[in-house]
């Protein structure tokens, strides 16, 4: 056996070092673990400061001893490479390990072991853990706000059908692939808008919507029997005629007033809320802010001076002010700018305000993409005789937008995270509902559970979005 030198462990005396080091390291872990799991102080006989630092010192020496290069043991190599490259790293690793060991049991206790899952009143929650019964009782409110319970199927149905319409594009056959952009940019938003406007809010206006749907369905079915030569005229004339017929001849509005036809109950936008409102607001803002931002970014790079400076002014204005003041403006200042008898719904105002706000950010992101394109692309397209719009739609934008996928995704993420701010105008989405539930006298003192729940919900949504955008970025990455 060679001489042992404890300051520089080496391969020649592998096993003495390895065993002593492992024992010391495990000892330090066991001390902390027993302390946090069973509340057992194994080193109670030592004075306070020493017992506090002992696990750290033991673990540090242990890690130092097992730091042996080229030992040929796989596990040891991995440990050394990952957490034990030098003394400083070893110390940090130990600290993190101890903090995790110390904090995991209390967290687990709070989340699961001591938590109450059942019950429907405050009395059910007597333990020291979380009161998930609170979330369970209020779950409907957190999801749908003040929307009447028996009408909530309308929101569910809308979201399910919109999601269905959204994923339809993935199954499109090659024949329809070329229409996908048109579908997602123009048709889908319009369908979604009417769906939510008419179906979720209901009321007499719902009939307009249902006539439209019926007219569309009938004309599509009949359309199969029309020779393709006349199809275009057919699809312009027939649906509109059908709609007018349905509205003014067959189902005359008096029938509704007489009660022979039951309409969907009118739910005003003030009652919308919860997570569904988060989705509605972020969905519409997302749809509206993108085209506006696109035009602003083109405007900012235009060589027409008036358009250029208007775009710059617009973008810099919205980027310079906080969203909360924009919402203040939409709620207290904007009504002053409208004629007295004109009233725009609160939700619509908020959606417009947030869309304009985010559009400025989208514009700057797209401008980054436009600037990154080499000038040769413009010149080449121009030399082929392309005009401004053709050049941008066919050559520039497809490349520029591909470049800015991560930036746009970040802007959309920011948009989703900004929706809770609509509490300023009195609309309560999930965070607003939490604050309302928190002040309910029967459920006082469960703020923590509510916020943890909402945090998890937002984390899942935003994390999924950011991962999806990362995938998209990888998919459309082209070498240049």
């Amino acid at each position: 056996m060679n001489k042992l030198n404890f300051l520089t462990p080496d391969k020649n005396n592998l096993y003495p070092y390895l065993y002593t080091g492992t024992v010391l390291f495990l000892l330090s872990i066991i001390i902390v673990l027993s302390n946090s799991l069973f509340n057992l102080d194994l080193i109670y006989f030592l004075p306070g400061t020493i017992s506090f630092f002992l696990p750290l010192v033991l673990g540090f020496i242990g890690l130092h001893l097992i730091r042996i290069e080229y030992s040929g043991i796989k596990l040891l190599e991995i440990i050394n490479k990952k957490i034990n490259t030098n003394n400083f790293n070893a110390l940090l690793s130990l600290l993190i390990l101890f903090v995790i060991i110390k904090s995991l049991p209390p967290l687990l206790n709070w989340f699961i072991i001591d938590a109450n899952f059942s019950g429907d009143s405050k009395d059910a929650c007597s333990g020291s853990g979380a009161c998930w019964a609170y979330i369970k009782t209020w779950f409907n409110r957190f999801m749908y706000g003040m929307y009447p319970n028996e009408e909530q199927w309308r929101i569910n149905l809308s979201f399910v059908s919109l999601a269905f319409l959204g994923v339809v594009g993935f199954f499109a056959t090659d024949k329809f692939k070329k229409f996908l952009t048109l579908y997602y940019v123009v048709v889908y938003p319009i369908i979604a808008f009417f769906f939510i406007l008419f179906f979720i809010s209901g009321g007499p206006i719902f009939f307009d919507f249902s006539y439209g749907i019926i007219a569309a369905v009938i004309s599509i079915i009949l359309g199969f029997f029309i020779p393709s030569k006349f199809k275009m005229y057919y699809f312009i004339i027939v649906p509109i005629t059908l709609y007018i017929l349905l509205k003014y001849v067959f189902f005359y509005e008096e029938l509704i007033e007489l009660g022979k036809l039951e309409s969907l109950e009118w739910v005003e936008t003030g009652a919308w809320g919860g997570l569904s409102l988060t989705f509605i607001v972020s969905f519409f803002c997302l749809i509206f802010c993108f085209p506006v931002g696109l035009f602003l970014s083109l405007g900012r790079r235009s060589d027409l001076p008036i358009i250029k400076y208007i775009s710059i002014g617009f973008i810099e204005f919205w980027r310079g002010v906080p969203l909360i003041t924009v919402l203040f403006m939409s709620s207290v200042m904007f009504p002053m700018f409208l004629p007295q008898d004109m009233f725009i719904d609160k939700l619509v105002r908020v959606i417009i305000a947030i869309s304009l706000f985010e559009a400025a950010y989208v514009a700057e992101v797209i401008r980054g993409g436009l600037q990154a394109l080499p000038k040769g692309q413009y010149d080449a397209a121009k030399s082929l005789g392309m005009g401004y719009w053709k050049l941008h739609i066919l050559v520039i934008l497809p490349q520029a937008l591909k470049l800015v996928i991560p930036g746009i995704a970040n802007t959309f993420l920011a948009l989703v995270k900004d929706t809770p701010l609509i509490f300023v105008v009195g609309l309560l989405e999930i965070v607003g509902m939490l604050n309302l539930a928190k002040t309910n006298p029967e459920w006082l003192g469960f703020a923590m559970e509510g916020y943890v729940f909402a945090s998890l919900v937002f984390f899942i949504i935003c994390y999924a979005m950011s991962k999806y955008s990362y995938n998209l970025e990888q998919k459309y990455k082209t070498d240049r």
Partner: protein, 381 residues
Amino acid sequence: MNIKKLLPQLLTLLVLILIFGFFSYNAQLNMENRGLEFGFDFLKYEASFDIQFSLIEYDGSHSYFRAYLVGLLNTILVSVIGIIFATILGIVVGVARLSKNFLIERTAAIYVEFFRNIPLLLQIFFWYFAALRALPLPENAEPILGVSFLTIKGFFVPSLIWNNLDIFIYSIIAAIISIFFVKMYARKKQDNQGIQTPVLKISIGLSIFLPLLSFILGGVDASVELPVIKQLSQSSFTYEGGIKLPPELIALALALSLYTATFIAENVRAGVQGVGKGQKEAAASIGLTPNQILKLVVMPQALRIIIPPTTNQYLNLTKNSSLAAAIAYPDLVLIFAGTALMQTGSAIEIVSITMLTYLTLSITISILMNWYNNKIAIREK
């Protein structure tokens, strides 16, 4: 200028003018109907509301303009605190993200992913309504470092009472200026003679020596005032003396810095990773030490990538500090666009002033940033 270029511009201008005309016409009509008058006279009137926390002297008898200043200063205060902590935390986490140590890298990554995917408003609510409410009452609070108390009513820290504070401040300014000159001299000497001057040691010496001199010669004097517990009534206690940081300020600064730090951390990581490997190898091959490589090769290039987006984050933090209104921290939005607007009803003026204030702040910072960007941009042929 041909007609094809002129027409769209004129049309846009016309539409804009029409919209503005429509809005201002309606505004005029509406204000007449409500008996309001457009103007900024209300700024001089007595505000007659109290503000919980203010840096300058203020009570109800002061004017609305004074209230505006209080709000602005509170906004700046929380922004500055947030920026300082966010920068420190962001750099630490960003460096940790680059660590070869698996545990450190993962911990930092989890922190970043978690905190930046949760809305800031939710985080503010969490700290204010859930976390800080779990703090002890003033009478049960344990002293931190023996002198400060973190309680449910706020953070009580000792304050310094100064004599001749102005001389002390002058001495610090003098120290900064002299350090600047030393640096210039050192660079000149290096350029001309190739001799290095120990700038860091001289700077530290100067920044200790000059303020110390002001204590000895300038008659500057500071004494510490400790917070002392005081009974208000049977079951209500508070601390007197020292400085009280209200819980709203703590929650807001905490949430802002934890949230913004995640973005700064990502900037730092991107910046350091953005420096090509060849740069480090080239530096090593001409015999620079690791410290010199970091200082002379990596950092200048990394900073070029880091600073512009980080300034943007500072700007975002300042704008996000307006969320203070949600937890009643008396910032510009709460005081001015909230209370003052309710009392005076001058919606258009007040919202415009508030927006213009933020706009001025942002535009100033972005002009500075553009100037800096142009200065450090690589000059290519």
